[in-house]
């Protein structure tokens, strides 16, 4: 397909985002997800061409505001925005005025006065993105707030699954490892359940919230039991930097019981796929042997889908704002 045909398909599929901001998976619903994924699908094809420049966001400014260290997510958003023709400014206030005592609200007000169109924010405190969205005039995309949500990650995971399986409804997905500290888990539970997948949570009792069964998930503490018959094994990063106190005795013990290796993978349904939001702790929650096996691992796909999914979100948010302005 020629580039102009692809651009035409993208324009046809481009619809306003259903909300002013994308703060949590709950901003989407079973009706608004499929068109967004269709749009992302078109971006996947587009991104595979040699020339990847669009003008859907020409003249728009996207500010990446990352209070926590991040390479992949901030790069993914930056590339997504640039491919849409937007101007991108990346800030990591960890090293700037926040260290001098400026509050999140002050930073928001300062940035807001510079009139960006989209603010992509990552912050260590749950609810920080929601707070920012109340104080700025532009669209806010939550790129991870504390242990609350990381909705674009869930969207890209869903895109990867839809492309691998065709339909997500009816799939059984096991999310494994450090659920308690994981914003990826929270967004994925919400989005996967919304789209009709069955979700299981597997991990040691210290890393699975006691109330997780009330999320509508089945909870397992034993990998063999929990992986029985699952279509997808989604491993989470063991959030070593978030661990307060003795949650697991050692990384080697964690790997022995909850780390995904070839043997444990045989407990899942034959042909089961493996996912990981990255960055991986190889040999802690996942064995390289499994992670790098392209016949089972969707991990590289996830990274590719990340750019496309974020392009879809940014383009849709931008379209909504233009609609509102007109």
């Amino acid at each position: 397909m020629s580039q102009s045909d692809l651009a035409e398909i993208i324009r046809e599929r481009l619809a306003p985002f259903p909300r002013d901001h994308f703060l949590s998976a709950g901003d989407l619903n079973a009706a608004t997800v499929p068109p967004l994924l269709d749009l992302a699908d078109a971006f996947v094809d587009f991104n595979r061409q040699r020339a990847k420049a669009l003008d859907l966001m020409r003249g728009r400014t996207v500010v990446n505001l990352f209070f926590e260290n991040s390479t992949r997510t901030s790069a993914s958003f930056e590339i997504a925005a640039r491919r849409l023709g937007a101007d991108v400014t990346a800030l990591s206030p960890r090293t700037s005025s926040v260290a001098k005592g400026e509050t999140l609200i002050d930073t928001a007000a300062t940035l807001n006065a510079m009139k960006p169109d989209v603010l992509v924010v990552r912050h260590g405190a749950s609810g920080a993105a929601a707070l920012l969205s109340q104080k700025v005039g532009c669209a806010v995309v939550n790129a991870g707030d504390g242990r609350h949500e990381h909705p674009t990650q869930a969207l890209l995971d869903l895109l990867s699954l839809r492309r691998a399986f065709g339909d997500v409804g009816g799939l059984t997905v096991a999310i494994c490892g450090d659920i308690a500290h994981s914003r990826v888990a929270r967004s994925n539970v919400a989005l996967l359940s919304m789209m009709g997948a069955r979700v299981r949570l597997i991990g040691p009792p210290t890393l699975v919230p006691g109330d997780a069964d009330r999320w509508g998930c089945e909870v397992f503490h034993d990998m063999r039991e929990g992986l029985q018959g699952v279509d997808v094994v989604m491993m989470l990063r063991l959030q070593l930097e978030r661990m307060e106190g003795a949650l697991v005795p050692s990384t080697r013990e964690f790997f022995r019981f909850w780390g995904l290796d070839r043997e444990k993978l045989t407990w899942a349904k034959p042909g089961a796929k493996v996912m990981h939001p990255g960055p991986m702790n190889r040999g802690v929650e996942i064995d390289s042997d499994v992670a790098d096996d392209l016949s089972v691992s969707l991990i590289q796909d996830q990274v590719e889908m990340g750019v496309a999914a974020r392009m879809a979100v940014l383009a849709a948010l931008s379209t909504r704002r233009e609609g509102a302005a007109a």
Partner: protein
């Protein structure tokens, strides 16, 4: 205390509410020289000649409220709250005595500081400003503060405020030492490790919001320890800010065994539950955190049954810049002096408690606990009175509060109960007629 105003005052045609004598009926109160000289039960009392007369028009007249847990920012954090702004808030809220908390900067941990606060408070000529002294020096949880000297200087009780004395040996020593002065010790029951870093109650909501939660048992565990130490040392003890049904059961068991301990609850925990934090509303970030609805109901029942002796406002001013932060980084606490009465009256209007049962833990309860002669409508008692319209609808507007900080969780809420007149030592310090 402020110099008594010699002007005599007669409040006639009121509905007297006196929890100390269980009297709820028509009557009048005559005041002279800062004290109540006569309480007339029944309608139709006339004022003596030459006396300022207030016709209550059938509104409620009760002893002024006594709030034993008030934080100010003086000294050390005056932009939050000064003694003056707190006292103005209190007067506007019908609170005639406030007991300020020792966690100022520097802490109120020696007799000179106790004296300083009392003098500053008295000079304002508004409400009675009394002091809770620190139990340990600089609230460090290790070195005992000068409990005897502070007691002599007028401190009403001793506490490390929001800080928990984690070291059981320290608390044991504080309790047994304080027993020698018959001094009251107050402790927040919160296991410091289980509640470390917590900003909400453990449970489905906190988990979903990604907030670190303190489990309800953290309160019970610490309370069991505190009560065991009380039993051993014979100290007079106040369970400060009880917030869970679990801990109430522990308290009830101890009482049944004959252990005499008092307990307080903040009015916020009687009015709100964890759901109110909703979408990270930091004005509902409190310490202890808001609990489950079942806990709130258990607290209401405990007030009804008399298991809880004292209701406080847990007044904790925090300026906007400390509240307008991500939930976990926001300062905990809420201002409450001005909203204490209408908030407490929800127990009457919504939960069906008798007015006297609502007012008792706001007047006679704390007065008896702290050995004050206020808190009752009786001849000879200080003329600290509040005249209020128990049914009047009010919409709370945080911006209109007298407190320097506007962090009220009641902002925008519709409550019932309006203070018409606050009288302290026979002087009208707030006129909302």
């Amino acid at each position: 205390m402020s110099a008594p105003d010699t002007t005599a005052l007669a409040i006639l045609n009121a509905r007297l509410l006196d929890p100390a004598t269980d009297y709820d009926g028509p009557g009048a109160v005559l005041v002279s020289d800062g004290r109540i000289v006569e309480v007339v039960h029944g309608a139709g009392a006339a004022a003596p000649d030459g006396v300022e007369v207030v016709d209550a028009g059938g509104l409620c007249l009760s002893p002024g409220l006594i709030d034993i847990r008030v934080k100010t920012g003086e000294p050390g954090a005056e932009p939050k709250e000064t003694l003056k702004s707190a006292a103005l808030s209190a007067a506007a809220g019908g609170v005639t005595t406030i007991v300020v908390q020792p966690d100022t900067d520097p802490a109120i941990d020696d007799p000179a500081m106790v004296d300083f606060i009392q003098r500053r408070g008295a000079a304002l000529g508004l409400v009675h400003v009394r002091v809770a002294g620190a139990a340990t020096r600089a609230l460090d949880g290790h070195r005992m503060a000068e409990i005897g000297l502070m007691d002599e200087a007028g401190a009403l009780y001793f506490t490390d405020g929001d800080k928990v004395i984690a070291n059981s040996r320290t608390l044991q020593r504080v309790m047994s030492y304080a027993a020698a002065f018959n001094a009251l010790i107050a402790c927040r029951p919160a296991d410091p490790w289980l509640s470390e870093g917590a900003v909400a109650t453990s449970g489905e909501l906190a988990t979903r919001l990604g907030l670190a939660g303190a489990p309800a048992i953290a309160e019970r565990i610490q309370l069991e320890r505190d009560l065991a130490l009380v039993e051993q040392t014979g100290a007079r003890f106040l369970v400060d800010q009880i917030s869970t049904g679990d801990a109430l059961e522990t308290l009830a068991r101890a009482r049944a065994r004959g252990l005499e301990v008092a307990a307080s609850v903040s009015v916020n925990h009687l009015c709100f539950n964890e759901i109110d934090i909703g979408d990270y509303r930091t004005f509902y970030r409190l310490d202890p955190p808001l609990r489950a609805e079942s806990d709130r109901q258990a607290l209401v029942e405990a007030v009804r049954d008399g298991l809880i002796d004292v209701i406080t406002s847990a007044h904790a001013p925090a300026p906007a810049e400390d509240k307008r932060r991500p939930f976990a980084e926001a300062a905990p606490g809420a201002v409450g002096l001005e909203t204490l009465l209408p908030a407490a009256l929800t127990l009457h209007h919504a939960e069906g408690l008798d007015l006297l049962d609502v007012l008792r833990p706001l007047t006679e309860g704390p007065a008896s606990l702290l050995g004050l002669d206020a808190g009752r409508l009786a001849a000879g008692a200080p003329a600290d009175l509040v005249l209020f319209d128990a049914g009047a609808p009010v919409v709370i507007e945080a911006d209109a509060l007298c407190s320097k900080s506007k962090n009220s969780p009641f902002d925008g809420r519709r409550l019932q109960g309006k203070v018409r007149l606050t009288v302290v030592g026979g002087r009208i310090v707030h006129d909302g007629r």
